[in-house]
């Protein structure tokens, strides 16, 4: 499994985003062990030092911790994970708002659009922001 990175932005930023997403959606379970740096590098097809840099950022944010000799674990702090979920959802909302504004849509239209689409749209499709489920031929 490799990710289609945007090569114009630092890859470690994109890895941080991908790892946060994994924690929020539960691909990486709370308190679960995260694979070694080189295993992740091999899985994602990226440089091990870049993976290390992204994981260090996650540690600084309290999203994972390193246990001496036994490895690296996802935080089991449910509050922290809920906080992260809210943070990522807010980022997605900001994206939507920016684009809705760009189209010249007022707030009441933008919110009613969400309410309307919430139940009618086919939301079982793979998340297009989820790089790992993006089909390979979707590359621009």
């Amino acid at each position: 499994m490799t990710i289609d990175f945007d090569p114009s932005r630092p890859i470690w930023h994109q890895l941080v985003h991908e790892f946060r997403r994994r924690i929020v959606v539960g691909t990486w379970e709370p308190g679960g062990r995260i694979g070694g740096v080189r295993d992740l590098a091999g899985e994602l097809g990226v440089n091990p030092n870049t993976v290390q840099r992204a994981l260090s950022e996650l540690e600084r944010d309290g999203l994972c911790r390193v246990e001496r000799a036994s490895g690296r674990y996802v935080t089991d702090d449910g509050e922290r994970i809920r906080g992260l979920r809210a943070e990522m959802a807010a980022d997605a909302a900001d994206d939507y708002i920016r684009r809705a504004r760009g189209f010249g849509i007022p707030l009441d239209h933008a919110t009613s659009l969400i309410a309307e689409r919430w139940t009618t749209d086919d939301h079982d499709r793979p998340d297009p922001t989820d790089a790992t489920t993006r089909p390979a031929d979707a590359k621009a």
Binding site: P7, S8, A41, G42, G45
Partner: protein
Amino acid sequence: MTDHAIEITGLTKSYGRTRALDGVDLRLSPGRIVGLLGENGCGKTTLLKILAGVMQDYTGDVRIAGHRPGPRSKATVSFLPDVSFLPERARIEECLRLYRDFFADFDEAKARRLVDSFGLETSLRLKEASRGMREKVQIALAMSREASVFLLDEPISGVDPLARDTLLSTIVGDLPEHSLVLISTHLVHDLEPVLDSVVMMRHGRVLVAGDVDDLRSEHGTSLDSLFKETYR
């Protein structure tokens, strides 16, 4: 002894009246995967050959894995040239034996795994193999040493996408942890996520050297575009 895996000061090399390398200074640390980029004829291959110890007659100071290029460095430096270096008439089996005899750090089981993953039979004679197949054999051998420095000259340009993926995942996940990997290429795009630093050369000199993600932040662009901009 220094902490650098490669340390080059004032390296100059001429072919007759042509200067292939013109005062190269370069320091590279262990544990990194470095792209050596530049147009044809910029001196990449000459630099790699000197580092590998297969080309002498240069001026300047060159250290690799703590030694001047020579027999002692060769024991710990794995070189993958962009030309065929194995005996034409040999079978893959005999090439494996050759590496076993020559290099104490050769991991034969790993080489067999790679040969197998490339879909090659060890009974195959090289002269009966296609150019791409021969390149795969050379890749399998070169990547299976427990070397401290790997010098790879255009390793991805001649093989199919599947073999390229195998090579790249070997480079990021399956080489000795503190080894330095120096890869020359002009296919920057394919290597982007794999590299952590880059050295760009032109006319025998180093133009840009640095951390890839820092360069991306600094210039707000991909290496591929930076490369094209630099060489415009």
